[in-house]
């Protein structure tokens, strides 16, 4: 992870440790955050349903990607099973509602907690492994959980899937895109702040130490097993929240949706966004979810010149994701966030670029 100079306004010195650890590094960043929040709150009044449902999907996937980034970007563990945890969250929330009849707004975080437990169970074998072995172990957890979804009729409805209730907030049914948007926005902001704060704490620094050099970290007294399992748990929590929101948004959950391809998509999101950054996963989600549509548009244009392309649009969409992963790894391994920081730095330093 490349470290860029972070240009600050002249005269803005950090003289205490606390002031260096603030979430918002500058006054401008703070104002931008408030402005973004206001825009987001006002958005459902202006945007139509197509855009809103796109935004909801981006929000849901961002939450899960934020979690995966704690595991991959900050702790340096690879997970090829994130979609399975995402799916577990979706089923867990639907199941909790049908068994306990608690309000959906409460079953969503409870589903997150249940997914945490499952993630930690699968994290235990993973705690001893690293690199490639870990990738394969998490691949196994993906297949085992997928098999569980198909088998556990009491929990998932088996091949028929499970119905997920529409959430309601003090009697207001969140059944339109514009109301559900606020629920997703709430969880996205909570997740963002939670992850941003997590990496400033003792545990967050321990994660980064494990990532940078696990032997040195262990020698410094960091309990590797504990932090690796903890990291799996935290990442699964956000996956569970994201999954629960996804399930309740669609209203219907089936196991096939949470396959290995979705796991790969989550990994693609954080790699394209930028590993080990907090805003990166959100940028990556926007990129990965909009890429197929951009490709459809592009292929539609090309089809007028080469008619053969018309029936291959579905394949072009899939290929574009694979190609995007490879191209980013070869040409921009630090992701979109790195590009953005470069742009910001050059703008701030203009016209003296050094």
């Amino acid at each position: 992870m490349a470290h860029l100079p972070y240009p600050r306004p002249a005269g803005d010195f950090r003289v205490t440790y606390e002031s260096d650890m603030t979430v918002f590094k500058t006054v401008a960043a703070h104002r931008w955050a408030i402005a973004l929040a206001v825009i987001a709150l006002a958005l459902p009044q202006f945007a139509d349903d197509a855009i809103l449902s796109q935004m909801i999907m981006i929000g849901i996937f961002s939450i899960a990607a934020l979690g995966l980034n704690v595991l991959v970007g900050y702790t340096g563990q690879i997970s090829l099973g994130h979609a399975a945890f995402f799916g577990f969250g979706a089923f867990a929330s639907a199941w909790l509602f049908s068994v306990t009849a608690l309000p959906v707004l409460i079953t969503i975080p409870l589903a997150g907690v249940m997914t945490t437990a499952v993630g930690m169970i699968f994290g235990i074998p993973a705690a001893r492994l690293k690199g490639l072995y870990l990738a394969i172990a998490t691949l196994a957890s993906q297949f085992i959980l997928e098999d569980f979804f198909a088998r556990a009729d009491w929990f998932t409805g088996g091949p028929y899937g499970a119905l997920a209730e529409t959430p309601s907030f003090f009697g207001i049914l969140l059944d339109t895109d514009s109301t559900y948007f606020y629920l997703v926005l709430f969880w996205l902001v909570v997740s963002y702040l939670a992850v941003a704060n997590l990496v400033r704490t003792r545990d967050g620094r321990a994660f980064i130490a494990v990532r940078d050099h696990y032997l040195s970290a262990e020698i410094m007294g960091i309990n590797l097993t504990r932090y690796r399992v903890l990291s799996f748990g935290i990442s699964s929590f956000f996956a569970g929240i994201g999954g629960a929101l996804y399930g309740h948004y669609l209203g219907f959950v089936t196991g096939e949706a949470f396959n290995i391809l979705l796991s790969i998509q989550f990994l693609a999101i954080i790699i394209i966004g930028g590993l080990g950054s907090i805003t990166g996963p959100i940028l990556g989600t926007v990129f990965i979810l909009l890429l197929p549509q951009a490709m459809e548009f592009l292929a539609g244009g090309l089809a007028q010149v080469f008619p053969g392309i018309g029936h291959g649009v579905a394949y072009i969409k899939e290929m574009s994701i694979g190609a995007a992963i490879m191209l980013f790894l070869i040409f921009e391994p630090d992701g979109l966030i790195h590009r953005w920081r470069l742009m910001r730095a050059s703008w701030k330093l203009f016209p003296f670029s050094h």
Binding site: P125, Y133, I136, A137, I316, G322, I325, I330
Partner: protein, 297 residues
Amino acid sequence: MNFELLFQLLINGLIVGMLYGVVAMCFVLIYKSTQVVNFAQGEFVVLGAWVCWASVMYMGLPFIPAFLFSLAFMTLFGILVQVVVLRPLIGEPVISVIMATIGLSIFMQALMNWVFGNNAERFPNVFGEGTVSIAGLNVETAYLVSLVLSVIVMAVFFWFFKKSRWGLAMRATAFNQQIAQSLGISVRQVFALAWAISALVSGIAGIVLGLVNAVSNSLAFIGIKVFPAVIVGGLDSIVGGVVGGIIIGVLENLAEFVDGQYLQVGNLFKVAPFYVLIVILMIRPYGLFGTKDIERV
């Protein structure tokens, strides 16, 4: 207890396991000599099968020239992939390399779906429909041919690494890249060669699979089945890959037997290898034949 069925399934397991072993061997070859985990191995298998099928059906070649043509194609393809995708990533962290091959596998899968369609296509009959009776069991000729081909491939591999100059160079590179370089071995060429051989042999496995079943994109499942096989055998051991492949093949068929006769849970044979994988990773992560990784600081 139905012994005849059990025996038949064990033979099936052995034959399928040999094919897993061949693909696992290719996987280990790439891992050992270039430290790259190839998640696109299954797609290599499918590509080989499709190219051979297309050259028989569309170019009108007889089977043997088509077979040779697809081997040449796969060799070039392997080199191309190494040079274009993997060479820029030398020295990058494990996750980047893994993701690059995953990206490659998605790309190839979609492309092959587009070009060759989603249907399973049969080869025109090459070996005939006959069955051969071995010790009272009926074995299809195609299975027998696949067994023989697997054994031949393994024997050639063995000879190549023990005796040939290039094989020695590859083993030296796998042992230590810097020392190999100082002895005048071109590590770049060795890397390209490893991918070329791996793609070629995967292609053979694909063609054999296509002959036995039919050519379809779902043959890529073998790329996933390879993981339990190589972990059981040990990631850096070619012999381990073969043994692991056979173990997984037999295990799958045993699971199917136990499932079908006693448990009736269905689909057990699909996940059983992954449970074994988790157990192996917990008790013996370096596998049966792999070298135990000792880190010195």
